[in-house]
Structure formats: C-alpha cells, structure tokens
C-alpha cells in the first residue's frame, strides 16, 4: 500500500521544531515544554509506523441479475502485518447501491454510502467480506476499482491502495408476464402456438370439404359423411409460429430526473421478447438509433439472452452518419414479420422508418412511449403556444400512421403494458373488419 504523511504529521513536525529551537534561542523552557507532547507523539508514531502489505481478491458471486435482485461482491483481504481495520471505497456504478456488508463470522460491517468501514482483515489467511449490492437499474454495469484506505493509530500516516477491478455485471430489466400477445397477420411454416389463417394439419377446426385423392382418411368427418352421399374431410388450421421484430427507438431519449423514455421502451421490449419466445415465435431486435444495431430473429432462451444483452447496450449516441432502416439486412427483417416499434415518436427519422416499413408491406405496430410526461410544463404564454403546436404535430403523426394502417397506441406507464397490447389488438381487429 502507498503510505503518505497526513497534515497532522506536518503540523506536529513544525510545532516540534519551532518549540525546541525557539525555546533554545530565547532560553525559555516553556516553549520546549509546549513542544514536548508533539515531539514525543511524533517520535513514537514514526518509530512504530511500518509498511503495510495487502493481499486482496475481489469477485462477484454472479454476473447477471434482474432489477431489484442482489449480487454479492466478495472481498478476501489479508494484511502483513495484521491490522485492526481497513476501509474500502467501492467504485459503484449508477445502477447499484450497497445494501449491507458482513464479515466472515457473520458480523455486520458498517456501510456509509459507497464505503465499507471498519472491516477487520485477516493476516496471512485472508478474511472474507461480503458486500451486498442491490441492482436498482437495468444495464451493463462495471465496478472499476476498489480503493483501500487506512490511517495508522497515531494519525500520522494514511495508507491507500487503488485496486483496478473491471468487474462487469449485467442487470436485466424486470419484466411483467404478458398473458396475451399480439397476433401477426401472417405466420411462418414453423411449429408454434399460433393458429394459422391457412388450412392444413392442425388441431383447430377450419372447414369441411369433399375428400380428394391423397387426403388422410383419419380426417374424414363421419357424421357429415353419414348424412350425405360423399365423403367429407375436416380442414384444420395448423399451429404455426411467427417472426416478431422489436424495433426500439433510441434516437431520442427525453428524461425527467433519472427516468428516461428508453427505460420504459427497454422494459417493454424485454417483456415482449420473453412472451413471444415463450410462444415459440422467432424474435429479432433492431435498436433503432446511432449506431443502428440489429439481431436476427431466433428462438429459445439463448435468443432471449441475446436480446437482453443487446438491450443493455441501447444508448443514444450522436453520429454524423445516418444510414436509415434500409441498412438493416433482409435476414434481420424477414418478410411477413410483425414489427413492434417502441418509440416516443420524437425523431423524424424514426417516424419515417415506421412509414417506410409499412410501405414495404410489413405488419407494423407502434407502441408510443408518451414523451409528454418527460417534458417540463409550459409556464409562459409562448411556451404554451409552442406546446400546443408540438402536440398538434404529434397528433398529425398519429393520423398519418392511421392512414398507413399502422396501429399506434400510447402506453401510459402507470398502467400495465398488457392493457396497451389489448388496445392494439382491438384496433387491429376493427381495422381488419373494416378492410373486409
């Protein structure tokens, strides 16, 4: 550990010199008497002070957690020679707080903000300190360093050491379980939980038709056949899966305090991904921002974690070069895919991209994250006017989407996401009925 003299040592040294030399020069024993305590403490403190070696091992018990969960930062520390206490300062990321700390024997160690104070380290055999970190916000977090501090018993030297750590842990957003999900207009050929609109082999009854050569005799509807003079066959809807692409707009991030629209979008996207993957759909992700990122549709738990990992890196970074949605490869945007956009509808590039995708024949749904809640209330007359114009422009955007056949629903974060999905589904049902 690095040892540095404290201001106390400097003051004591100056007082000792002044007292002794001044007393000698003036021939006054009082000055020598006044400096005596300082001389003695300085001498004793310097004589007993020593270098301090520390061996330390720091690790996390796991590197993934869900919002609200705790992960353990385990510090094994020993010093040579053994000392009574060490203080640790943890370089905590914004999304985590220290909830508490316990030493090896189960004794609670005091925590003050991001410091753990008064831990008794071991000697040659290290003592273990377990620091409980509560994950408050989703994201990929990094603990950069651990700073060890100690002050000697006489207060003359401060010891410190900064241990670089680079421990990374990912906190996934807490997602609500969605009971009902959006049904895409078109399904894929793969097996899934969705009842296809097409006819084929499946469980759901679709229609009756006369038997033709090559039909499976097990599909004969005997009741109808008995009442008529020809053989009738049950047609069924096959169970299929679909392609769902989540398009998270990270081009604009209005914020209020620590709340950001992107937080809501990421939480909703994580819930949708989990729900659709449970339904055996193929789910892909396009992080529509700067830079544009995408993840090809896939299935299963591996894909779920890929999506969550990609969502962790959703950030708005300004770039000079903008390629637009045309840069997304065809494989990341499969034909007939249901595209669910999560956007505050603030950036014109995102708005145009939704219209562009709809124009290319994709089934597009936009879940609008309400930006109004993140904008300060107008106070002056001019601000009120500007606000009204802005709201009119947003209404115009929604009307434009409606004309293009894009279902747009404003999600109120105070209400369950399931309700917004229900509204979209109702809109789509009515829209289809209108088309018929």
């Amino acid at each position: 550990m690095i040892r540095a003299p404290t201001p106390r040592l400097r003051t004591f040294a100056v007082l000792a010199v002044l007292g002794l030399v001044g007393g000698l020069a003036a021939g006054r024993p009082e000055l020598a008497a006044i400096s005596a305590p300082f001389v003695v403490l300085l001498g004793v403190g310097l004589a007993v002070s020593h270098d301090l070696g520390v061996n330390i091992d720091v690790r996390l018990d796991r590197d993934r957690a869900i919002e609200g969960e705790e992960i353990m930062l385990v510090i094994a520390a020993g010093t040579d020679p053994p000392v009574s206490r060490l203080d640790f300062e943890v370089d905590l990321p914004n999304g985590a707080v220290i909830e508490g700390a316990v030493s090896e024997g189960g004794r609670a160690v005091e925590v003050v903000e991001h410091m753990v104070v008064g831990f008794k380290p071991g000697g040659s055999v290290a003592n273990r300190l377990t620091v409980r970190l509560r994950c408050e916000r989703w994201g990929a977090h990094r603990i950069g360093f651990l700073r060890i501090r100690r002050r000697d018993a006489w207060g003359l030297f401060a010891y410190y050491l900064e241990v670089p750590l680079d421990l990374v842990f990912k906190v996934f957003p807490e997602t609500a379980t969605l009971r009902r999900l959006l049904k895409p207009v078109e399904t894929r050929l793969g097996f899934g939980d969705l009842v296809s609109r097409h006819k084929g082999e499946g469980l759901e009854f679709a229609d009756l038709r006369p038997m033709v050569l090559g039909d499976d005799p097990r599909q004969i509807n005997w009741r109808v056949t008995a009442r008529s003079r020809e053989v009738w066959i049950n047609d069924r809807h096959p169970e299929r899966n679909s392609d769902v692409v989540l398009l998270v707009d990270t081009l604009s991030e209005p914020r209020r305090g620590v709340e950001v629209t992107l937080d809501l979008a990421v939480r909703a996207a994580a819930g949708l991904a989990a729900g659709h993957l449970r339904r055996n759909d193929r789910v892909g992700l396009i992080s529509f921002g700067e830079p544009l990122r995408w993840l090809q549709p896939g299935m299963g738990d591996v894909q779920r974690y890929r999506i969550l990992d990609a969502l962790m890196e959703s950030r708005s970074r300004r770039q000079m070069y903008w390629r637009g949605v045309s840069a997304v490869p065809r494989r990341a945007l499969p034909a007939k895919a249901l595209i669910i956009g999560l956007s505050p509808l603030l950036d014109e590039r995102a708005i145009n991209a939704f219209a562009d995708l709809r124009g290319r024949g994709f089934d597009v749904v936009v879940m609008e994250i309400p930006a109004e809640q993140f904008v300060a209330e107008p106070t002056t007359e001019d601000q009120c006017l500007a606000r009204r114009i802005w709201e009119l422009q947003r209404d115009a955007t929604r009307s434009r989407f409606l004309r293009h056949g894009i279902a747009t629903v404003r999600w109120n974060p105070e209400e369950p996401f399931q309700r917004a999905l229900g509204e979209v589904e109702a809109f789509r049902r009515n829209a289809m009925r209108a088309q018929v």
Partner: protein, 161 residues
C-alpha cells in the same frame, strides 16, 4: 471543541502584558480566526497555520515575562488537545461520519492525550527548574540535545516517507 480551545489560547498570552499585548493579541486572534475558518471550511491544512500563530503569540508573550510561566503545561495540553480535536473532527467529517462508537472512542483518546501532554510538559518544566550552574557546557548540552532530537525526527521522517 477545537474552536473553543483556540479562542481560549488566543486570549491567554495577551492577558498579562501591556507593551506588546496588542501585537500578541492580534496574532492570537488571527490564529483563532484561522482555526474557525479551518473548521468551517473543512480545510485541514489551515489547522497547522492556526496552531503556529497561536504558538508564536505565546512565544512573544514570554518576552516580557521574567519568571517561568506556571501555566505552560496547561497551555501545552490545551494546544495539543486543540490540534488533535481539530484533526479528529475534520477526519470524522463526510465519509465515515456514521461510524458507530467512533465519537466515544475519540473522546477517550483525547482525554488520554491531553493528560499525557500535561504530564510531559510539566516534566520538562520540572527538569528545567533543576538548579544547574549556568555555563558554556550547559549551553552546548542543550543545543546538542535539541539537535539530537530534531535529527532523530528528521531521520525517522525520511525513512518512513
């Protein structure tokens, strides 16, 4: 505590003087003001300057005092307590403010240090009052002792830093 002690220490040297009392009092008050500033602003480096000014004020007050000051051990203990409590208070601020039992331990430590300072200063004064015939050898011995003490401290500081 540090501010109270600093105020008391600034007033003590000027109490019995008349000729240079104004200067002594001025330096003492400046020292006390610096101590207040150090405690309010949380600047530990100012504590040293405040203490030095108080010591200088006391040293100047001794110029016109013919006899040995019997209150010197008390002054020494008070000065020592002031420095310790000032640094202790500044160190407790902020990060480890909530440490349980720290204040109790700190008060106990201060009491012990104050008592030790009082005893040490009284011992030095007692040794100084031993009747020894003045002469060149005594002067040389005193200079030698002071030099030895300071050299030891310098060597220790150089080795430890």
């Amino acid at each position: 505590m540090a501010i109270g002690l600093a105020t008391g220490l600034s007033l003590y040297p000027g109490a019995e003087l008349s000729a240079i009392s104004q200067l002594v009092r001025l330096i003492g008050v400046a020292g006390a003001a610096l101590m207040i500033l150090a405690m309010v602003a949380g600047a530990s480096w100012v504590v040293g300057w405040a203490t030095v000014m108080l010591l200088v004020a006391y040293g100047l007050s001794l110029v016109t005092r013919p006899a040995v000051d019997p209150g010197a051990p008390l002054y020494a203990a008070a000065l020592f307590l002031m420095v310790e409590s000032a640094y202790g208070s500044l160190e407790r601020r902020g990060r480890i403010a909530g440490l349980t039992g720290l204040l109790t331990r700190e008060i106990g430590r201060l009491m012990l240090f104050g008592l030790t300072a009082l005893v040490l200063a009284a011992l030095v004064l007692a040794l100084a009052s031993v009747p020894v015939a003045p002469g060149f050898l005594i002067q040389v011995a005193a200079v030698g002792a002071v030099t030895a003490v300071l050299t030891t401290l310098v060597l220790l500081v150089r080795r430890r830093t």
